[in-house]
Amino acid sequence: MLEIKNLHAGITGNEILKGISLKVSAGEVHAIMGPNGSGKSTLAQVLAGRDTYEVTQGEVLYQGKNFLEMDPEERAREGFFLAFQYPVEIPGVSNTYFLKAALNAVRKHRGLEELDAVEFLQLVKQRMKLVEMDESFLNRPVNEGFSGGEKKRNEIFQMAVLEPKLAVLDETDSGLDIDALRIVADGVNKLRRKDNAIIVVTHYQRLLNYIVPDFVHVLVDGRIAKSGGKELALELEEKGYDWVKDEADRTVVPA
């Protein structure tokens, strides 16, 4: 579904991603872990099409297509979804209006009919239950005045409505208390299917107790330093990131 080959990217000459390669197939859940500043969020933003980052080398294939050439909206319509680490507040635009515009743009691209107001509301109310969100959120402006946890829930709610094929959850666990974490993780698990894939970006292993990954990758200084199964996350939790760093340093071939 997704193939990242030797991806280099950064901001104005400052390289943050230094050659990432990763393959994600349908039905899989991958976790990308790593210390602060290792490039986790940069990778998520680059995949979403954020133009403040410049891709200097490498390629990304998504369902066989050149992903990096697509505009952010095209990526979304093709089934890509990023749950933001810091969801943006949009005063004056109601959640309903926003979601309807988004869903219909995606449906149109997929050759489906636009939903009318009644059908849309039915769908939305059903999906809200997945993340135990109150219906009053529908008429509130997007993320405005939401608590940190409510914003994260709103991201997963949007994911439930848009039904992406590939979702990247960027630090969705940060700022969540244990109850909210469980609700959000349960919501994500209900959205797992054989034909979609999820990349969970996280600093802590905690979330992975609920969303159990098939693969765990450790990102250190812009590279994947180590990959393994779900047990790797537990090892990281126990030993911290330093040993992976040390291991990675030792394996770097001196120039």
Binding site: A48, D71, F84, I90, P91, G92, L99, A105
Partner: protein
Amino acid sequence: MKYTTERNNWYLSKFAAFERSLNGESNSPVHALRRDAIQRFDKLGFPTNRHEEWRFTNIQPILKADLKPVLHPHPATVARSVVERLSFGTRYRLVFINGYYAENLSSVEGLPKGVRCGSLAETQNQNHDAIRDHLARYARYDDSTFTALNTAFLRDGAFIYVPDNTLLEEPIHLLFLTADADHSLISPRNLVVIGANSQVSIVESYESLTDRPYLTNIVTEIVLGEGSILEHDKLQDEGLQAFHVSSTHVYQKGKTSFTSNSIALGGSIARSNVNAVLDGTGCECTLNGLSLSSGTQLIDNHTSIDHAQPNCQSHELYKAILEGKSRGVFNGKIFVRQDAQKTDAKQTNKTLLLSDEAVIDTKPQLEIFADDVKCTHGATVGQLEPEQVFYLRTRGIDETAARDILTFAFASDVVRRVHVEPLRNQLESLIHDRLDAGRKLPQQD
């Protein structure tokens, strides 16, 4: 203060012609007012950029236009369908063509007892007390050229008189149309007198049926009797060659509530003044404004709130969206007099610049002479937030639609404050259309 007097003689000679056209009116009090005003106009001349009130608005294009005052009611008919298209389906509607009342297109049936709603010229002939008591009392022309000019050519406009304890459930729509005008000076004069404990909504709208240049130079005086409530909405949607200068003077007695929603979309140069005097305790005054400009339009909003008495509140929100090479001006004065303790005044001005070449000059002006007051003001000027645009795009919404959604949200913050529902709906679709049209314009590099 330096003024230019180059165009004075033009208007003095037009005034002489106007006087000759008036039969048997030369001894009336209104005519004495006109004479006084033209003399004052002659002394004042037209303001230049050196005049503080006109620092950012150059009116040379208006002066160069050699405008001819419209001295008679417009003879041609305007199709009823055109009027319907520009109406909001309200029950009470006064239509004016080039500043003169068009009775055949108006409807005032079913007004509550004692309410007068019609032509100022007609009422003037009937010597109504309200005219004697209020006309030209609030719109002073000793320091305002355009008010002096309006008063000199004062002939017709809307007269609304609502007696005490009267609730008008439906709004009154005043529709000002300009038709077959070319280099015309149109001088409507409105007088609104609301009795104690009465409640009314009035919508003024200005529409062009011509693409030629002309000036609508309008003065509206509003008096709110003790305990009354008025929402005054104004939609300025003149042609892009038109000039528009408008002065709304509001006099609030105690415990009154006045709301002004001023929406400016049209005009080549459009200046709006809204001046409110809070001359009783326990008043509320809310001034909202929204302007949308593109091309080379200049939209200038001046407001003044005069807190003359204690325990009054004022809230002000003016927003502007500028595209192309358009210019905007906002000047918001708040006076708090020495007696006006416990005043609570808040002013907010927000501007969205959608192009690199658009310019806004914004100036809050607070003069506070009382010590126990709460006064705040804030002004922001910015562009659409790239983070917001990106967020919408990551959900599948294309960039143009994302920008439109955010721009519309910025505007709707003011539009939603309009309580007259059919007008609010009309404004929403007008703003959508305007954003669409702006997009279709070729990009200027």
